[in-house]
Amino acid sequence: MTTRIVELRQGILKKNDELARELRGRFEAAGVLVLNLVSSPGTGKTEFLQKTLAALRLIGSRAAALVGDLETDNDARRLALSGVPVRQINTHGICHLEAEMVSRHLESWDGVELGGLDYLFIENVGNLVCPSSYDLGERIRVALLSVTEGEDKPLKYPTLFNSVDAAIITKMDIAEAVGFNREAALRNIREIRPGIRIFETAARTGAGIEAWLDYLAEQKGATRI
């Protein structure tokens, strides 16, 4: 029996990567800054995003959000309280968002045009493993980590933390009560992703939100160059 080897050398997620590249092109052409927010379940992504959206609306920026969950539209309803367009993506069991889901939900989004937005936030499914493999066409990937999760989380999930552009520590208002070791958390994030921007925030008190908004504006400005 003779056999032969056929070289394929192709990306396993080629379809996703190609679609993500296409989306990135569309986002850039429309001048919208797209961010992909990733964290464990319960970190406070939705609360943080709700505050961010409301604050952006107050200063006259046009923002919208896509939010991924396995089931329910609870998060979309919470985010909609901020007064900006929000759309739920239900993955029905899939543990991460894929470029195709983003593309499909942008297609048929009544009243939302990419060209009319300054910012589009994509809240990923709560998971620190699988979302790291799937490019959604975002320009900025953000990891969120709450003070209750353990300061060594970046060391446990290096793949995700090494792939992000910014990190946000949430729930800083209860840091003391839960014995959060701030220095260790900052050190561990930087150990995995040297030089990364880190924001220490508390959605309930609004702490750190201003620095975060400055960063967004700065990044948004950078897209226009």
């Binding site: 029996m1 003779t2 056999t3 032969r4 080897i5 056929v6 070289e7 394929l8 050398r9 192709q10 990306g11 396993i12 997620l13 080629k14 379809k15 996703n16 899939i94 543990c95 991460h96 493993v129 699988c130 790291s132 493999s133 060391l155 290096p158 793949t159 995700l160 090494n162 792939s163 930087r190 150990e191 995995i192 992703r193 040297p194 030089g195």
Partner: protein
């Protein structure tokens, strides 16, 4: 656990590539998976059996070659392997390493096939 999604993509890609070799049988699929790719080989193998069962790829072996993480150091200019996934530093000079050059791969490297003519011969024999 997204290995089933990954494996489904592999099955689709290989099936697509097989169109160029009508009737061929796949004996082996060889992958290159980076140490930073967030994919576990045991899970891939487990899902591979499920995803290929009853398909054109049934019985094909899945071989996973792991690609180590290498970084380029801006400080000393060297490329080197990362000693630990918990410590992104240059092994040569100890500076912070931000430029990952390999270790994120998630690729189908090659497939080993037996051509249709060969299979037909075996049958007639």
């Amino acid at each position: 656990m997204h290995e089933l999604s990954i494996v489904s993509s592999i099955v689709d890609s290989v099936t697509e590539s097989l169109k160029a070799y009508p009737g061929a049988r796949v004996l082996e699929v060889r992958l290159r998976v980076g140490a930073l790719a967030a994919v576990v080989e045991d899970s891939l193998q487990f899902c591979w059996g499920i995803a290929t069962d009853g398909s054109d790829l049934a019985g094909a072996r899945l071989v996973v070659n792991t690609v180590p993480v290498t970084v380029h150091c801006a400080a000393c200019g060297q490329n080197g392997a990362l000693e630990s996934l918990q410590h992104f530093h240059c092994a040569n000079c100890g500076a912070s390493a931000t430029d990952v050059r390999s270790g994120r791969e998630l690729e189908i490297e090659s497939i080993e096939i037996e051509d249709a003519a060969e299979i037909a011969e075996e049958v007639t024999r």
